[in-house]
């Protein structure tokens, strides 16, 4: 077997295939960028593939004006909700993997099932509930909603992560006389960073990009997250594609940044996350 020769050929083929895929993945980005840099009259479906007749940042400027408050709202929603749901998931996962009690598996299974429900089926009771507790049309309601409905997945990821950590660590803590909470605080929490990163990325992305809850639970511009503000750009009748595409890019930017900076953690972390069970 001419391993050198064969390997080179395979490498070339591999690169070729990767490039084709890369083109497929980049296609929509090209359309988005291309259109966002065009003047309004140029930004039509029929001129999708042609470069801008003249470069125009008008779309971005308009988009920034319209999305400004939405971006802030999304920030004030997503960061607290991500931090909270990560912490809760961490503590839950810790208890469920290291401090099992009778029925803990059943309870966890029941909680886990909650992550598969279609949100439309609970939307109306949810809104009524928020009205009654006075949280309707506030970022607080969205934070609460995303934290609660995020409990299953964050708990799952942390539980699986902690399951890979040897029980000896717990025993070592107990020998020192520490209890559940202090073992968590002093031993497990410090080594949880990889899992926190995974969970934080997952939650941040899902909450930032979420639309259904956002549009139903908030009804005024002061509280609407960027996904709703982005929808607002389309107006009720006329679509300004250059602004919309620019807005889409702006709205996606934070999540994209996170991916670029923390991508490697994500891959490594998924191993602990979903592989086991």
């Amino acid at each position: 077997m001419n391993s050198l020769g064969k390997k080179q050929l395979s490498d070339g083929v591999a690169y070729a295939i990767l490039l084709i895929f890369a083109l497929f993945f980049v296609l929509p980005v090209f359309v988005m960028l291309n259109t966002s840099l065009k003047a309004l009259s140029d930004a039509q479906n029929s001129t999708m593939w042609s470069f801008p007749a003249q470069l125009s940042l008008a779309g971005f400027i308009r988009a920034f004006e319209k999305l400004g408050s939405g971006l802030l709202n999304s920030l004030f929603l997503t960061v607290p909700a991500t931090i909270l749901s990560s912490l809760i998931g961490s503590i839950n996962g810790y208890c469920l993997s290291k401090w099992k009690f009778k029925g803990s598996n059943w309870l966890f299974t029941m909680v886990l099932f909650g992550m598969f429900i279609p949100y439309q089926s609970i939307l109306i009771p949810l809104v009524n509930f928020m009205q009654k507790v006075g949280l309707y049309n506030s970022l607080g309601s969205l934070i609460a909603v995303h934290v609660i409905y995020g409990i299953p997945i964050t708990t799952l990821i942390f539980r699986n992560y902690y399951a890979t950590i040897p029980d000896e660590l717990v025993e070592a803590g107990r020998i020192d006389g520490a209890g559940i909470v202090s073992i968590y605080w002093r031993i497990f929490l410090p080594i949880s960073l990889p899992s926190f990163v995974v969970v934080a990325i997952w939650q941040f992305t899902n909450i930032w990009n979420e639309f259904l809850f956002a549009v139903t639970l908030t009804s005024s511009p002061e509280t609407q997250p960027v996904t709703v503000a982005l929808q607002n750009l389309s107006g009720s009748m006329i679509s300004q594609w250059d602004t919309q595409m620019a807005g889409a890019i702006i709205a996606s930017a934070p999540c994209l940044l996170i991916y670029v900076l923390l991508g490697k953690y994500f891959v490594g972390g998924m191993l602990a996350g979903s592989v086991k069970g």
């Binding site: 099932f113 439309q120 089926s121 670029v260 994500f266 592989v275 086991k276």
Partner: protein, 291 residues
């Protein structure tokens, strides 16, 4: 692992608030929806009179709903198959650790960061038969003019699925990459020394090890595909001719436009049952793994 009764109790107490929250917000609300689905509530004034399974019966007889059920099945199949296949291929290619792996990996994963609303809008443009992909194909001398893409009821489902796969293939790839990292190099070397070629190593050594990854990926992906709403809503609104219509779309329209809350609730419960049929076997399986 010995745990004292007091420790177990404390552990339960810590987990309890989450359980309570989920019980109210998930099971409580589902119960409420189920109740509504047994009434005849239609219009803005609630009507709590129970009429039995009338809503479900009328749904089963409704041609649109029948189509929706079929579409869900088809979409899930294509979405899963495409994701698993492309995810696996991409992971296999990147596992070779060629130069530029990081760049490609980041590239394939970035679509997950983008919302369905954003990607849906762009993909509809791309799938337009007049100026979309057809224009690109024609550049290469291939006349695909008669392909209707998103406007053709027979092709539309594939278009929508492709957009969804574009969005999630990176995730599946990441899953497989992580799984492959877990296959130690020693085993691979041993196989190669025994004379196995690349493909054989892949098929007989690596692939079987990836089964848990596959299962996990299927769970997460079908969770997304059963709930899918934003993407289809933005791309086709269920069209053309119901080709991509889903229970989620029907439910949204009938509840928030038609004010037919009882029917909307019934659709929600049916969607829930479909999800349950998929998830419960998985949960049972994972419990067995844990035991």
């Amino acid at each position: 692992m010995k745990r004292s009764g007091k420790e177990r109790w404390l552990s339960f107490l810590i987990f309890a608030p989450s359980v309570a929250a989920v019980f109210i917000f998930v099971y409580g609300f589902i119960g409420w929806s189920a109740f509504i689905s047994l009434t005849d509530w239609r219009g803005l004034i609630p009507s709590y009179e129970i009429v039995g399974l009338k809503q479900y019966a009328s749904l089963m007889a409704h041609p649109r709903f029948q189509r929706d059920m079929i579409n869900t099945g088809v979409f899930t199949l294509i979405f899963l198959a495409g994701n698993l296949f492309f995810g696996l291929v991409l992971a296999a290619l990147l596992d070779r650790r060629l130069r530029g792996t990081n760049f490609f990996r980041n590239l394939f994963m970035f679509p997950m960061a983008v919302s369905f609303v954003v990607s849906g809008t762009v993909w509809v443009w791309i799938f337009n038969p007049n100026s979309g992909l057809n224009a690109v194909f024609q550049l290469f001398g291939f006349d695909s003019g008669k392909w209707g893409w998103i406007t053709d009821p027979k092709m539309a489902m594939y278009c929508v699925a492709m957009a969804a796969i574009w969005q999630m293939a990176g995730f599946t790839m990441a899953q497989y990459l992580a799984g492959m990292k877990g296959v130690s190099d020693d085993i691979r070397e041993a196989a190669r020394i025994d004379g196995a070629g690349e493909v054989q190593v892949f098929r007989h050594i690596i692939l079987p090890q990836l089964w848990p990854v596959t299962v996990g990926a299927i769970v997460v992906l079908s969770h997304i595909s059963l709930k899918i709403f934003d993407l289809i809503f933005v791309m086709t609104q269920g069209g053309p001719a119901r080709a991509t219509d889903m229970p989620g779309i029907f439910m949204f329209e009938t509840t928030f436009r038609g004010d037919f809350f009882a029917r909307g609730a019934a659709i929600g419960i049916v969607m829930l049952i479909m999800a349950a049929l998929l998830i419960i076997p998985y949960l049972v399986y994972s419990r067995r793994m844990d035991a």
